[in-house]
């Protein structure tokens, strides 16, 4: 109804303008309104469309705007190389070996000479075994990390195999493109109108990458701390620190599996959820009269102008947000699970 009213108003206004222009030109009087017409209704919208919306569309289509969409599975599956910790590991071992040898020798002497009470001997033995386990684990820690990484990678891969990657890619694509279409639709009459959705386009393009790279950075740091964590975990006084390090390492490793799970469940939900009414919107807003827009949009969609609907947009947004939400949920949910 409101739309109809606007249509009438604008049609009237356009007729008036045309008549005025004709008559004024006939009388040879320069019109201000003509320039306003050209400026605010034709040139500036065109500039907005061409200078702002089109480059972003190009960026999404041909540049790295949709790079996350293109290879999200590779990015999520990526883990930092385990060779990175080797120098740190060597330094740690260099420090630890003399200490360890000293301790072992002292314990041996203790067992040999002052083995008075059986429980004392038992304690010494348990200490010895602990030391040896720690030593083995630390010297094997890069292998250990590699093992954990491969487990979580395998898990992630098999989770991805629950649905087709194409569907997930389609959903992500739909989210980011739908936002761009929406912002273009809003941007052409007034730039501030599309500010929120334009911001969301950039959020969708960048924030998943930010989260994943944050994961990688934190994981690298924890990987370097991992042997130290093992060492501290076996020292009763410093157990809590070691526990925290190991826990955080495991959590941040398995976040990738949960990201995959979130995407998979988004895909499942997308394939099963239905809306009662699923409206469409097409990024064609070049005429002040919405009716004409819709007509032209209906005409142009046959040659595939950007069109989005509520399902695609909503689930695409949910997919992007779920990537962002998963680490928070994980870190909150999986606290303190080591003994």
């Amino acid at each position: 109804m409101r739309k109809k009213k606007f249509m009438n108003l604008m049609a009237l206004a356009l007729v008036i303008i045309l008549l005025m222009i004709v008559s004024a030109e006939a009388k040879g009087i320069k019109l201000e309104s003509l320039e306003v017409l050209l400026e605010s209704l034709i040139i500036k919208p065109l500039i907005r469309g061409l200078v702002i919306a089109a480059p972003i569309g190009y960026w999404l289509a041909y540049q790295d705007g949709t790079s996350f969409v293109k290879n999200f599975n590779r990015v999520i599956l990526y883990n930092p190389p385990t060779e990175g910790i080797l120098p740190f590991l060597n330094i740690l071992l260099k420090i630890l070996f003399p200490v360890y040898s000293l301790l072992i020798v002292s314990i041996g002497f203790y067992l040999l000479l002052y083995s008075s009470s059986p429980e004392g001997r038992a304690n010494a033995k348990s200490l010895l075994s602990k030391l040896i386990i720690t030593l083995v684990l630390i010297s094997l820690s890069s292998r250990l990390i590699w093992l954990i990484f491969s487990i979580s990678g395998y898990l992630t891969d098999s989770i991805f195999s629950l649905t087709s990657l194409e569907l997930i890619r389609e959903i992500l694509n739909g989210g980011i493109w739908g936002m761009l279409i929406l912002s273009t639709w809003l941007m052409i009459p007034d730039i501030e109108l599309g500010a929120v959705s334009l911001m969301l386009v950039y959020v969708f393009a960048w924030l998943p990458y930010m989260v994943i790279s944050l994961r990688n950075i934190i994981l690298t740091a924890l990987m370097i701390l991992f042997p130290l964590g093992i060492l501290l975990y076996f020292i009763p006084e410093l157990k809590s620190i070691g526990k925290t390090i190991l826990e955080q390492f495991l959590i941040w490793t398995f976040i990738q599996a949960f990201m995959a799970l979130a995407l998979v469940s988004v895909a499942k939900a997308f394939s099963v959820t239905t809306l009662v009414s699923n409206p469409e919107i097409t990024c064609l807003n070049i005429f002040p009269v919405p009716g004409i827009n819709n007509m032209l949009a209906w005409f142009f969609t046959s040659i595939d102008l950007g069109t989005t609907n509520l399902m695609t947009l909503g689930f695409g947004a949910v997919a992007h947000f779920s990537i962002i939400l998963v680490p928070i949920v994980m870190v909150l949910l999986f606290k303190k699970f080591l003994p």
Binding site: I21, V22, A24, E25, A26, G28, K30, E35, E39
Partner: protein, 412 residues
């Protein structure tokens, strides 16, 4: 069928009307001529209006450039509006800084006066409100003692509760005086702190006012400085392309340009004149909303928190009889404890404020000079990070201390 008929009829009528209108303006002239003219004239006019554009595109560019800049009409308004904005913001800053540097101590030290007759009467009306509660509590206790108390232990507890209630009654009746004593105590402590660190306090307030002034300077710079730079650049560019003579000629100060246009001094003079006059033009206050927000946040952060503190103290002052009652009646002890704790803490916020002021002042005095320069903004319009940090400490420090002390207090 009917609708199509009416449709066709309407189309016909429309056509008739259009023809009539076309004919209408040709009552005085010959028909064919006018109709031909009506068809050709507009086309001719349009062509005429665009042919000069086609001849010299430079003019076309300038024309549209002027259009994308502000209209002549709006320039007048712009000058007045921008100046008014800067002036009013400066006035606001001036009054706030003056006010706060004059009587920050008063604002910190003020406490609600429990002996003020309005407050007193309200408190006493609350005490009247409390009487049925007291009766209820006593009656229930009596019933408990008489009938329900099986064990002597419980009876003794009930008796102690009765005595507590009696004490509570006495305390309630003198509660305004108690509060008055307490408030004077805390005021004296605060006064001592403030007098201990006199110059620290003045230094901290100086930092605060300095930041407010700096934000005003930034506003002025953002409004005028940017335009000045932009105009210089545009003028040099137009000189390089060299068709600004006409602009100088058209300029309302045409003293330098009459008759001897084209010489470089004239150009330079005209350009300077243009820049100086342009400085007031095209300034957009809308682009200084961050600075405005900073000023408003600083204002609210100090005034708002102090006023809010006063109101909260008043709130718990009015609740004080209830507090005592809740404290003295065992089942609601916890609630009363919370209320009392709140009253103490909100009253102590003034001490916190004094402490924070002295701390900021000390920090500012101890800070090496060369560090103070670091800040954001273009030289000389920079706000030092330390000053900003000091201001935000002034705003949030009391609240943080409040929360910390709330954790430290023993559970009542």
């Amino acid at each position: 069928m009917q609708r199509e008929d009416s449709q066709r009829m309407w189309n016909k009528i429309l056509a008739i009307f259009i023809i009539l209108i076309l004919l209408s303006s040709s009552v005085s002239a010959s028909i064919i001529d006018t109709i031909w003219g009506l068809i050709t004239k507009p086309l001719k006019g349009v062509l005429k209006s665009w042919e000069h554009v086609l001849k010299n595109p430079k003019h076309f560019i300038k024309h549209w450039g002027k259009h994308f800049a502000h209209e002549e009409l709006e320039e007048k308004g712009e000058r007045i509006r921008t100046f008014a904005y800067v002036f009013l913001l400066g006035l606001f800053t001036w009054t706030v800084t003056k006010d706060i540097s004059e009587n920050i101590n008063r604002y910190i030290l003020i406490n609600p006066d429990p002996l003020h007759e309005g407050v007193k009467s309200t408190v006493y009306s609350f005490i009247h409100l409390l009487i049925p509660f007291y009766v209820l509590a006593l009656v229930s206790l009596g019933v408990y003692i008489l009938f329900l108390s099986t064990s002597p232990k419980g009876r003794s507890r009930a008796k102690s509760m009765v005595s507590k209630l009696i004490i509570g009654m006495i305390l309630v009746t003198i509660s305004p005086h108690l509060l008055n004593f307490f408030f004077t105590l805390s005021e004296n402590v605060t006064k001592n702190i403030l007098t201990q660190g006199e110059e620290e306090v003045t230094d901290a307030v100086g930092t605060y006012t300095g930041v407010m002034w700096k934000s005003w300077f930034l506003t002025v710079g953002a409004i005028y400085g940017v335009n000045a730079l932009g105009d210089i650049v545009t003028e040099t560019v137009t000189h390089a392309t060299g068709f600004s003579i006409s602009q100088i000629k058209k300029h309302h100060y045409s003293w330098g340009t009459r008759g001897m246009k084209g010489y470089w001094p004239v150009k330079v003079l005209g350009t300077l004149d243009k820049i100086l006059s342009k400085l007031k033009v095209e300034a957009e206050p809308g682009r200084t909303i961050p600075m405005l927000m900073l000023s408003i946040t600083l204002f609210i952060g100090v005034y708002g928190i102090l006023a809010f503190r006063y109101l909260m103290v008043m709130f718990f002052t009015l609740l004080f009889p209830f507090t005592i009652f809740f404290l003295c009646f065992d089942p609601t002890k916890k609630l009363g404890g919370t209320l009392l704790e709140q009253l103490l803490l909100w009253t102590f916020v003034q001490e916190f404020y004094a402490i924070i002021l002295v701390a900021i002042g000390t920090g500012m005095i101890m800070l090496p000079e060369d560090l103070l320069g670091y800040g954001f903004g273009i030289w000389p319009l920079t706000i030092s990070f330390f000053d900003l940090a000091a201001c935000f400490t002034l705003m949030l420090g009391p609240i943080i201390l409040f929360m910390l002390l709330r954790k430290l207090l023993p559970p009542l």
